[in-house]
């Protein structure tokens, strides 16, 4: 019985150590931060690309406000609508980095070399496919204002207005 107390104490110390380590390993894993993509305050010079009439479009600059790099895969207005596709060059965007999305605008939205747009337009929402690390692709909604929203309000995504 003399050794029993010592063994019990050693077992307790060992158990505490194992438990602490296990809990540390389990609890110390930082929770995955959310993926935050937002429209950046865009510079004037990259807003539009309308070099060829009736085949122009709008560049929308997005910014990674999250804390980890993400890879942008694709973008769309809506996966079930007839809205035109959006083009995005797949690339890794570091925290604070920016990436352009090209939104083609139908020719009927052009007149006199400019887009038909409407002032005080509500924001439009696009969905961006984003992958973090080797994880699955997540679809992140991004609210877009400024020129794209004005074009959407003035001409609509299909060029018919509304």
């Amino acid at each position: 019985m003399q050794h029993t107390g010592m063994i019990a104490a050693m077992v307790a110390v060992f158990g505490f150590a194992v438990g602490s380590y296990a809990a540390y390993r389990v609890m110390d894993k930082p929770a995955a931060p959310p993926i935050l993509l937002r429209q950046a305050t865009e510079p004037d010079r990259a807003t539009t690309y309308n070099g060829v009439p009736v085949t122009g479009g709008v560049l929308v600059l997005l910014r990674n406000d999250g804390t980890s790099p993400v890879k942008v895969i694709d973008a769309a207005f809506s996966r079930t609508s007839a809205a035109p596709p959006l083009y995005i060059a797949p690339q890794s965007v570091p925290p604070g980095g920016e990436v352009n999305v090209y939104v083609p605008v139908p020719g009927r939205c052009f007149s006199s070399g400019t887009f038909n747009s409407s002032a005080n337009a509500p924001p439009v929402r696009i969905t961006v496919g984003v992958q973090r690390g080797d994880g699955s692709v997540q679809f992140v909604p991004v609210e877009v204002t400024s020129e794209l929203a004005q074009i959407m309000a003035g001409c609509g995504p299909t060029g018919h207005g509304g």
């Binding site: 029993t4 063994i7 019990a8 077992v11 307790a12 110390v13 060992f14 158990g15 505490f16 150590a17 194992v18 438990g19 602490s20 380590y21 296990a22 809990a23 540390y24 389990v26 609890m27 110390d28 935050l36 937002r38 429209q39 950046a40 305050t41 865009e42 510079p43 004037d44 010079r45 910014r63 406000d65 804390t67 924001p123 991004v142 609210e143 204002t145």
Partner: protein, 367 residues
């Protein structure tokens, strides 16, 4: 708890094994041993129990410590970003009057105060209180922004805690001096925010609003009426066909002398895109609040382009204005330009004839 006492009997009778001992089944003996092993007083069980309790205690204490440390970190975190919608808005000055008389009656100024709104979203794990911000840009003096109440009023006492995911609005006034910004590489518009975090500490965070200060800031100065006002526009016919002179009257509203000239790129554009040879006159100096007439000789060099230009009403930035005191070739001069339609439809039609229609020959001698 139970205590099992095992008695050993001497089952021998005179050195001979008694029958019951010989017939004790092995199963019974194993079962007895097994029951003894399962007894709570077994030291192995005691050790296991202690170890399990220690495990649980260690896990719980470490988890608590980790959580507490993370919570302390969260309370001191400031993760602010520009709001998704309307992050930075500068009110626009009213549109300048289009009527020349009204414009001449309006005192000239290059300074304007405009209300600025900055919206930031709290992406951190805990609530924060945005106390204010200092916004710097190349186009205006550093502006101090204060929290905006729901009604729009701003005050240092208007502090509202912003929950995670919430948006804080700050407002203030920016003083623009439109002729004052240097024409060097653009500087980013930056906000330095002062934030009180959940732990009671006050921290700072810097946000870049606009890398080139292009969007909101330049719009203000673009709407400021220029010092030079075109008060008259006329044509002087020439005996030489295809040649005429545009007479432009310009009045200077500013209290400083104004330099007016035809920019070289406008001359190039008129020639290459509109088929007109524009001979730029020598720069003209207009005294403070004075007027001057500028004569611009024009010749048709391509009828096809000139007719198209006249029909389309092309107008390039054909007159440039600058403060005469800055000198004409100063790289840092604040230069403004105004559009002017130098393609006179009647003169071009007289020289070139009717526009060429499909299947019908036309055009003048210069095309």
């Amino acid at each position: 708890m139970g205590l099992e006492i095992e008695f050993d009997y001497d089952d021998t009778e005179g050195g001979r094994w008694s029958a019951p001992s010989e017939t004790q089944p092995l199963r019974a003996r194993v079962g007895r041993r097994w029951n003894a092993g399962l007894a709570a007083g077994n030291p192995l069980f005691v050790h296991l129990g202690i170890a399990l309790a220690a495990l649980v205690l260690g896990a719980a204490s470490t988890a608590g410590f980790t959580q507490g440390r993370q919570a302390a970190r969260d309370r001191a975190a400031t993760v602010l970003h520009l709001a998704p919608v309307g992050p930075f808005v500068i009110d626009s000055p009213p549109s300048p009057p289009t009527d020349v008389r009204q414009l001449l009656a309006t005192p000239w100024t290059d300074a304007v105060d405009e209300h600025v709104t900055l919206r930031v979203v709290n992406d951190g794990p805990d609530p924060v209180t945005v106390l204010g911000a200092q916004v710097t840009a190349s186009q205006f003096a550093p502006a101090t922004l204060l929290p905006a109440a729901p009604g729009g009023a701003t005050a240092a006492t208007t502090t509202t805690t912003t929950a995670p995911g919430g948006v804080s609005a700050l407002g203030g006034v920016a003083h623009f001096v439109c002729g004052d910004f240097p024409s060097v590489d653009p500087v980013a518009t930056v906000a330095r925010l002062t934030v009180r975090t959940a732990d009671g500490g006050t921290r700072s965070q810097t946000l870049m609003i606009d890398r080139f200060s292009d969007i909101e800031e330049q719009r203000v100065c673009q709407r400021m009426p220029e010092p030079g006002v075109i008060t008259s526009f006329g044509l002087l016919h020439s005996k030489t066909r295809g040649t005429y002179t545009v007479l432009v009257g310009v009045t200077n509203r500013a209290p400083f002398p104004l330099l007016v000239w035809v920019p070289a790129d406008a001359v190039t554009s008129w020639r290459s895109d509109s088929g007109l040879d524009v001979r730029a006159p020598a720069p003209v100096s207009i005294p403070p609040r004075g007027s001057a007439n500028i004569a611009i000789p024009v010749s048709v060099v391509s009828c096809a382009l000139a007719l198209e230009s006249a029909q389309g009403g092309y107008g390039y930035d054909s007159l440039a204005f600058a403060d005469f005191r800055d000198g004409p070739h100063n790289a840092r001069v604040h230069q403004t330009e105004q559009g002017l339609a130098l393609a006179a439809p009647d003169e071009i039609a007289k020289y070139c004839g009717l526009p060429e229609l499909p299947g019908i020959g036309g055009g003048g001698s210069a095309g």
